[in-house]
Symmetry: C2
Subunit: 142 residues, 2 copies
């Protein structure tokens, strides 16, 4: 199995509300079938899909799908960018779980939950600088 | 906010067992601090982190972290590759949730849960061919 994730799909109860949150953060949708909201990432796509539709597509009961034990990391080039994005996320409707602060591994980070409870970590990692296009390469931080 | 996810972190109850599953699928770890298992993806890293440590790092109660309403998609170039990977995942310890089959959007896919309940979709999408390096570019399937 090659080491890659092609799609990240977030199951959401309120598709329109979830989509509006990411659009308030400046993300632009790409064309997608009815019932799916898609955002192109770098070599990857993030999709929003109704919780019940996702459960049906997988073939499991909707109640078995929880949220939160996956975190999506968005790394930035400076601490100031972390502070700024956390503020913009809160303004866009996020719940701040951990305000920006020094992280135990030597960087700087905060956490927010999107309107559906999916958890994002916003971080500056001085040990793993981003490529020009934003791609992230693990450099064994900490 | 740029459209990218730098890190995907899966909260897991049994770090060694979760890591062994991905290693059985052929993934190679990169160096990481104690308590973290890291796999380099394309321009992105997937990390395994203890559920209680993740909850503490976020600052929420462990019981609030569920699993499953995020799916991680791994796309392949042919239907046969989908069948093969689903079989190898089962042999490595995955639970098959949906055997490989035609998908409503015109492709071919199946779902499995890793030993911790995190859900992967394995798919062939004829509308969105992969780049040579495996990078995925959404092409509005369906």
């Amino acid at each position: 199995m090659e080491q890659r994730v092609s799609l990240i799909t977030l199951g959401v109860a309120d598709l329109a509300n979830a989509a509006a949150f990411y659009e308030r953060l400046g993300w632009a949708r790409v064309e997608a079938p009815d019932g799916v909201i898609a955002f192109d990432l770098i070599g990857q796509t993030l999709g929003l899909f109704g919780l019940s539709a996702l459960a049906e597509d997988i073939g499991v009961a909707e109640g078995t799908l929880g949220r939160g034990a996956v975190t999506l990391g968005h790394n930035l080039r400076t601490k100031e960018e972390v502070d700024d994005l956390m503020q913009r996320a809160e303004a866009a409707g996020a719940t701040i779980l951990k305000p920006p602060q020094a992280a135990y591994w030597g960087g700087y980070h905060g956490y927010f939950a999107d309107p559906e409870g999916h958890i994002w970590e916003v971080a500056h990692n001085p040990f793993s600088p981003l490529a020009d296009d934003g791609a992230f390469c693990w450099n064994g931080y900490g």
